[in-house]
Symmetry: D2
Subunit: 408 residues, 4 copies
């Protein structure tokens, strides 16, 4: 490719769930960044620490993705603006041509192995009754064609599709050859979509990042595949709001030896993600990732309550109330309360862009497989038990400094 | 001293403000720890990380101090319990003999150079119109006698007296010999009490820790004195509540590149400290230390408001409401609110004990002068611009690990 | 009775759940009022408006009750003080003889028809397998003996026992003769304890107030019984915290024509009541009464979430977070949030005393049957759809003013 | 006028401060109501209770006003939408012709007697150095010409101009003839603008409502003038946010006999009103009206703190934190906290429309002078000490019911 010659890279970001809330904000944001309409607030990789890392500039990213709902990115963006009063409809309108361009690169996704509430969302263009093998082949072809047509040096696939119900990862073969063999002969339902996308991505030579609590790449066989294919991967579940706060505040209680008696977190919001999570089986995945962090930071398990409730009127405005009851010196109980009013997709979108840039950079430096240095982006970071946000960020900085120092 | 032989050390903790809220809780806590009546919640040095450091056990500390109000530690403790409902009067009663014992080691303090609201508190036993030179001599004698009588290996003086109005530190000589000469011939008012105590402490070979925002040891001439006397010192202003939270939360905004538009912090409480701080000149010292941290962590100065209001009915229950208005990706504004309901003296007391133990350990290891590795305990740590609590704690851990590794 | 001659009345307050949190605070409070140890804060009937009503003074009330747990009032009071830091153990100790006196008038209750979690609490003195008829007879005998022995002019029975699961009230005969006949021949389980106590109370000529959401007196047949017996009754579910706030705040939104989009209320607490309510069937009764009020005040049903979670460490400190999302002029959405930190039994106890005094006064004035003028004390006031607290209080005032004016 | 014949009235609403935040929302709202673009949320007079009152429909109101800043209503509306994200710029654009029409009826106001911060806002069209007499004459002429040109049956003037510093009302003559004589010969500065507008309005036969805490019509001489001129008037200071909540919540504490120990209210916002109020002399007017209500409802004065701080980034989003520390039965202290996030002008604008409709209706029914039945709209209602919002609303309802019943 000629960019090898010029030294300039052209790279792809492929979103699973390409017309969802996060994806819409990614598309708007990437377009606006290119057009210079917004500053870099919210983007971690825009911090001074990352400036010597040689990250691919926003102008050199091509966006595409898979989606199962028959809607339009532009309509989603207008709806988002109207519902959440985040920005003006004029702003969205000014990015019309960019969004229509991205729209041409959105392909029908797969619901092979999805739960009924998800299959209920699909438009007619999405294949019914795909076997796992068929789905992987089709998805992989889409990814390869995306890379070829756009002459991309590397593609990072990020899963921002609806959360799936939990899956027992133990039941799958841990060696990739056995796993692949079983995949080819199994009927629909053997694997959830998030894992099918992960396999297809890796087979196509793409890196894969799981921003959701779904299964995705969290299987030993896929770790082997990633190494075989020399791609990078990481997950899971983007850390954007209440859990971010937990992993920032809990270390304080730990460092001051204040004993957390109970930590209650009530979350309310009303976007499509919330609607899906309102289905008990789906909610279970999320509550689990939100609840786990405390015990691992504190070293003991305080009483906890975590709820996530869907209230349509709140739209993307995730509001969380955390009540921390803790005990201090001489056994005196005290209280810390936190109220978080964040716009969920707006918090997530820049992290997706950051993850894409950092993953591409890791691959370029020769990194293969799991990327635990990206832990600070995730509620349940694979490959590490470190949940303290400050320490996770320090680990990211070490990696960055290493690359800069080593010229990697 | 024979403890040199046995390897066991006996050490002193001398509190300026020895019958105040914090001092009362220190006395109660130290007594209860010795008697095994409470666990170590709230004590940083009780964390596993510190266990190999060879800190002096609670049983080997002797407590004394200076105070200007004619009251009794036991009455203060009973009042504290009743007003704040922190523990039962029975509990206080069960520690009566310990408190009465401490009481015998409390000496009249000095109000030389104090503001009218402070001198208004004094009992008849406190000398009037002491010159700086007289005050230093008297205080030093008290400290030397405390050490001698109790056969102490080292004494750590901690200032937990009422906050003084701000002082212009520029006006004092920076060389100790000039400073000392001027001190001897100056009339009352040249130096505030906190600095007189610091000088006396260092002259007596004691280390000095300033837990308040008063001037204390924060003068170049005193740095020289500390080195001459081979003692350690650190300050200022214990970080126990709202500011602790600020230095825990602000790094999160920084690391996520979220732009803080404004940070409002309203504090209400009703103890004697609050009453003194309600005097505008005194309040100024505190507001300054509370406000500064944000700009230094964030790298820019957001709009800020900090208030501290005295409401007698709240007693020691410092309640703080923080409202953080910040901007995210695509310019979307969001809000984080924090409500802190902490019992101020209960939060402070264990840190005073920790500081005493760590200071004694530093001196024992040969450390002389400023102790910036203790920054995590202070709102305005001398000798460092690092306000990120996580990083400050990591620095403390490095020092600890260094000592353990080096056998220092 | 000779008090007829002197014009002075001696009256009884009989609590179902006589060693529970509320009952304990009633016993402490009544004793302390008599001894002049506390002022009248929290007592509605101590307001100036009630002073000409001729209410029976605290000194003329005799306290007794039924209970199923084998514990002691004094121990419960000490536990309460220790767990909740509401008052000093010394204070409880100073009321020892009064509490021991009340203890002598506590009789074994009935668990005929109770759920397993309740029967699991019983001590050996509580009869097993009582039929409804047996239970009513035994309870009635206890009440009659209480009245006779203490020479009481009237007895008010207040149900402050644990909440029972909901019961379908439709299934019971509406005529009292049929109801009584069926009661006599039915096996255990036909009626829950709260209703058995109500029947026994009325049969014994006592008035009955249901402070809980349990069935109690809420049956047409019991209305007939009350009229036959010339006693008064009212219920249900004391309005003390979050619901009180709802019925104070919702009228504001209504009067300003602000549209409530959603109202979320999360309650956390950790006393025995909370433990029982943590059983899903029991919780249902409570959530229903908490949720209903909004639609009736607003005139439409906003989206609502109500949770009640048991967290042992919170004890009696019921903390509630309410998040109200509402829409104003030009469709602009806004938010009100309320955080309530109340000590549940302390809020309830004075209302129990008020209800006893007002009920006795109503009966004395010749009132028979339902007392809808007491609606302001209840979450689900029988016989009225008025939930606006201000209007309910105005109705109470009308009744009071009528009595004062009429000399009734 | 021919509308006498048809029975249909055409009426005027004249705003002082006609391009301010509230006025802008009034103009947008009135236009949108006429065009059927919004529903009636936020309008008290749209409640069912008012439907038989024969209020003048929105289509029959003509809007005009005085303003001192050289800006345009349309620009203000666009700025408002952008800053506060309350509605889309498209929405404002769709009302362009209506806003331009109102713009033609906005006249230069007076700054005679205004403070420097206000005169600093004026454009060149505003006369400098007007004497009180000149100002009144000019304003009156504007009002008369407005009425004549638009053939209006009645005009209601509502003051929504910036808050003025407090004025000592005692120093003015109480008889109107003396007052008028002194006005004519006094130099600039004798009276603040709000009072000059009130006099001019009354002289022109217009009713006057003071939505601000400025002096306005609050003078005995003006009461006489209103009666002479047969116009109605009322004030002062619209009750829209934190104070509304206080007057809703304080009656609850009173009715439950819970003792408020302290009530702290911190307000933050960032619109022009906030900027003016940030000047200490101006702020004083507002804090006074916000603070007074509690003592009058509770019957005693709890400790209070009220702050209003200007933070530009918050725009019209007035956020208030109220912390209420209260004591219950047995002396147990508890806490209620309230967080209000309201868009100030959006809350105020419909009340201005309501006040105009109700005032016109009062005048039509023959009412002259003060209108205390409108107390529920004001923080400091003239002519009444009733601050309980529920009772104030009941008083409004009595007046409404009386009119409906009496056919007035
Ligand atoms: N702050 C955050 O928003 C945040 C943080 C952490 C994790 N997450 C997770 O990120 C995901 C996306 O969040 P969102 O708010 O954008 O949700 P969303 O519901 O708006 O978008 C999800 C999109 O995925 C699509 N989709 C569902 N199944 C698919 C499939 N099998 N193939 C292709 N597309 C599919 C849906 O049609 C929808 O458009 C969720 O799983 C959420 O839990 C979000
Ligand atoms: N969480 C906290 O409590 C906290 C945190 C940081 C800093 N501080 C600071 O610690 C100090 C102590 O707090 P506190 O709550 O114990 O206050 P306090 O008012 O209860 O106690 C201060 C004591 O100092 C005494 N005193 C005043 N001037 C003196 C003098 N010149 N010599 C000797 N004694 C003197 C007073 O009589 C009083 O007994 C204050 O300056 C406070 O601002 C407290
Ligand atoms: N603020 C409040 O506390 C409040 C408000 C409204 C309603 N309530 C209701 O009041 C009731 C009492 O509350 P509490 O906090 O005192 O609870 P609690 O659990 O402390 O006390 C209830 C007592 O009832 C006893 N009991 C249970 N079943 C019984 C039976 N069949 N016969 C006799 N005794 C029985 C239990 O042993 C216990 O001692 C609960 O139903 C609660 O839901 C309380
Ligand atoms: N919820 C609320 O917004 C609320 C509630 C109660 C009271 N108020 C009061 O209402 C008033 C208006 O509030 P706002 O938010 O619209 O403020 P604003 O500052 O946006 O508008 C005030 C307008 O008055 C104009 N003005 C100032 N002096 C004038 C004069 N002498 N003649 C003519 N115009 C003049 C200013 O130029 C400005 O356009 C303020 O006094 C405010 O305190 C507002
Ligand atoms: Na989202
Ligand atoms: Na303190």
């Amino acid at each position: 490719m000629n960019n090898m010659v010029t030294g300039r890279r052209k790279v792809g970001l492929w979103l699973i769930g390409a017309r969802g809330g996060i994806a819409t904000c990614v598309a708007l944001g990437l377009s606006a960044l290119r057009r210079g309409l917004i500053d870099s607030t919210g983007l971690v990789t825009a911090l001074p620490e990352f400036q010597k890392l040689g990250l691919v500039p926003w102008g050199d990213w091509v966006l595409g993705g898979h989606e199962i709902r028959s809607t339009h990115l532009l309509d989603e963006a207008q709806d988002f603006a109207r519902t959440n009063r985040t920005f003006d409809s004029e702003f969205v309108e000014s990015l019309r041509s960019e969004l229509e361009d991205v729209e041409t690169r959105i392909r029908p996704g797969t619901v092979s192995g999805a739960s009924p509430i998800i299959t209920g969302l699909t438009g007619p263009e999405v294949p019914k009754n795909e076997s796992p093998g068929e789905a992987v082949t089709r998805i992989r072809d889409d990814l390869e064609s995306f890379r070829r047509k756009n002459e991309l040096d590397h593609v990072v696939v990020v899963n921002v599709a609806s959360t799936e119900p939990p899956v027992d990862a133990e039941k799958f073969p841990t060696r990739y050859d056995e796993f692949e063999a079983q995949l080819q002969r199994s009927p629909e339902g053997w694997l959830p979509p998030s894992a099918l996308y992960a396999i297809a991505a890796m087979q196509a030579g793409c890196s894969y990042v799981n921003f959701t609590p779904s299964l995705g790449c969290n299987l030993p066989a896929l770790d082997e595949l990633a190494r075989l294919q020399k791609v990078a991967y990481m997950g899971c579940d983007g850390k954007t709001g209440e859990t971010l706060l937990k992993t920032v505040l809990a270390p304080m209680f730990r460092a001051r030896n204040l004993r957390v008696l109970s930590w209650v977190g009530h979350n309310i919001f009303g976007n499509l993600d919330g609607k899906i999570l309102d289905t008990p089986s789906h909610k279970q995945s999320k509550v689990a990732t939100k609840d786990r962090v405390l015990a691992e930071i504190l070293g003991y398990k305080p009483a906890t309550v975590v709820t996530i409730e869907y209230l349509e009127d709140l739209g993307d405005w995730k509001t969380a109330w955390d009540h921390v009851h803790f005990s201090g010196f001489l056994g005196v109980p005290m209280v810390l309360q936190v109220i978080w009013q964040g716009c969920d997709s707006i918090l997530a979108a820049p992290l997706v862009l950051d993850l894409a840039r950092l993953t591409e950079r890791a691959v370029r430096s020769g990194h293969v497989g799991l990327m635990p240095f990206l832990a600070c982006f995730f509620k349940s970071p694979h490959g590490t038990k470190e949940h303290d946000f400050g320490k996770q960020f320090a680990q990211l900085m070490s990696w960055v400094d290493g690359l800069i120092a080593g010229g990697g």
